[in-house]
Symmetry: C2
Subunit: 338 residues, 2 copies
Amino acid sequence: MTSLKTLSEHLGLSQATVSRALNGYSNVNDKTRQRVLDAARALDYRPNSSARRLATGRAGAYGMILPSAQHLLLDPLFSDFMAGLTEALARRERDVVLGASFEGFGAATYERFARAGKVDGFVLAQPLLDDPRAAHLDRLGIPFVVHGRASRAPSHAFYDIDNHGAFRQAAELLVALGHRHIALLNGRPEAVFAIMRREGFLEGLGGLPRAQAPITETEMTEAEGYRATRAALEAGATALLCSSVLLALGAERAIRDARLELGRDVSLICHDDDLSGLSTASFSAPLTVTRAPIRAAGQAIAGMLEALMAGAAPETLQEVAPVELVLRASTQPPRRQP
Amino acid sequence: MTSLKTLSEHLGLSQATVSRALNGYSNVNDKTRQRVLDAARALDYRPNSSARRLATGRAGAYGMILPSAQHLLLDPLFSDFMAGLTEALARRERDVVLGASFEGFGAATYERFARAGKVDGFVLAQPLLDDPRAAHLDRLGIPFVVHGRASRAPSHAFYDIDNHGAFRQAAELLVALGHRHIALLNGRPEAVFAIMRREGFLEGLGGLPRAQAPITETEMTEAEGYRATRAALEAGATALLCSSVLLALGAERAIRDARLELGRDVSLICHDDDLSGLSTASFSAPLTVTRAPIRAAGQAIAGMLEALMAGAAPETLQEVAPVELVLRASTQPPRRQP
DNA sequence: ACCTGTTATGAAAGCGCTTTCAGATATACG
DNA sequence: CGTATATCTGAAAGCGCTTTCATAACAGGT
């Protein structure tokens, strides 16, 4: 293992100069720098990151804490989001470290990680309304950015998609097509995204009586999608709005079981995170979707973390990405009742 | 931030004694230790992990590198596996750090991480046959354990499930039921697990002509499952063996499209990793499965990593977990052709 | 020739811990 | 009572870097 000491002795320079040369400080002679760079490559020198962290006081890493409450993890989005984030941070030479919390929601875990200097900040995923973790981190002055948002008028940095607008538009479309009985298959009601979508949905419905707009808010699994759709169809729904592809998959199965045809008999709009394993192309009718690729989130959040570390104010780091409504064959005017 | 220095001054002890007391060394007076422990709690002392790492020369963390080749990530297993691993390591006060590789397969990335002292070892996921990453890590003497295995007779530490046995048994069951035209819907042929399953499948088939045992090896998505099943049914298959629930989902759709009934008309066995979002309960007939919960892998691998660090020989850390064949309604004798 | 300002380098302190080594105190033994 | 032994504690070195401060070298202006 070549250390800075070895390298500097090899070059006949002081450690200070070598360090400066390597870290791109300006006050180093160009020739010297080149010599240093060459030698570093030749000896395959890798600065020890613990030493550097200790000296700089920065971890050069961001944390993400997985809640132990299992149901919060049931998230097919997780791996795609993680991949996007990790890659974006890797480009900036930052690591992401994963932790697991045992004590309930794990606000304490966040504190432990930060205080131990393992990370410089966090990304908070799957926020609840007025999420205690966000409040806690805020109080401690630990930088973080939320994927989604932790309250209605957040003061923290966040990247979210326009869930409200997307579901409002989707509902409006269904209403415009003539549907008068529309079910929403949503995620768990604690999740902020679910709240936003529900509100957008209701707004898009206009004056439609609530009885004709049944809402279920559950885990977003195939099984729940099936169950909710069955109930909705029995109650007379002609259109469905699904918060995830998994729900839509279950919905399609229920539609089939009812001997109905997707699109012709029942309209369906689904939110599509553009996940790698679940394409909305794999339905019997091409699906109308509200679409927002989740990998984009990683990019954006990586940038915000870095900005935060550079001293940017959290309030200035807030992005609500638009959601595209993609019209396809799964949305059609309702059929006359036979 | 209370540091060791602060704490020791506060106690009127030397840093050495405080450090020893905190780290459970024997040669510290019980009373002293208690005093130290109490004070540490009171001042909410958190040892700086960079400093500790620098002093001990150990990172106290393990790495996992996400390949940039996107299709390798398309893995719904990823998040469940990750959750299991992270939790198991967290219990041992170890972190997991995620990296992303850009240069192809990323053997270089592993080296960078290890040499920079960011991690003490790795877990290698989704191994290919004779995986170059494993060879590289071996050559460098960097500890690692493979989730799956990287060759037929590995000398490295690994935790795998008995893919060969599982698919042999499943094929045998179908044959025993009387099926004579059985399709295998497998994962990509580079993956070791797919190879093992294919071989097990063929072995279980006994003398069945290969023409009656069509095999497709693709991404394990719903869409591919649909496509392969359609083709298989047209060719006359009466039974299917699927490497993942996602494939089975597609298979079921194709079966429906063909106006056939799962179980009665077409038998189906599926490998079930017990993923959080996709339950095999959500099929029109309860699915016969080969079952091996993926979360167990995290536990086992965490233990192996620690054993490796403690000096255990990799060859002694190899586990092939049994796979349970769960009989349910989706497997029945073939129907007479109408 | 002298001072000023720039540029390039080195010495050394320090980041917060662990660990070796030695010293102090207490206990046991002959 | 002296010496050997066990038990506990402290001083200090060191892990591998960064960064401050001082110094040296050199250019330019007067």
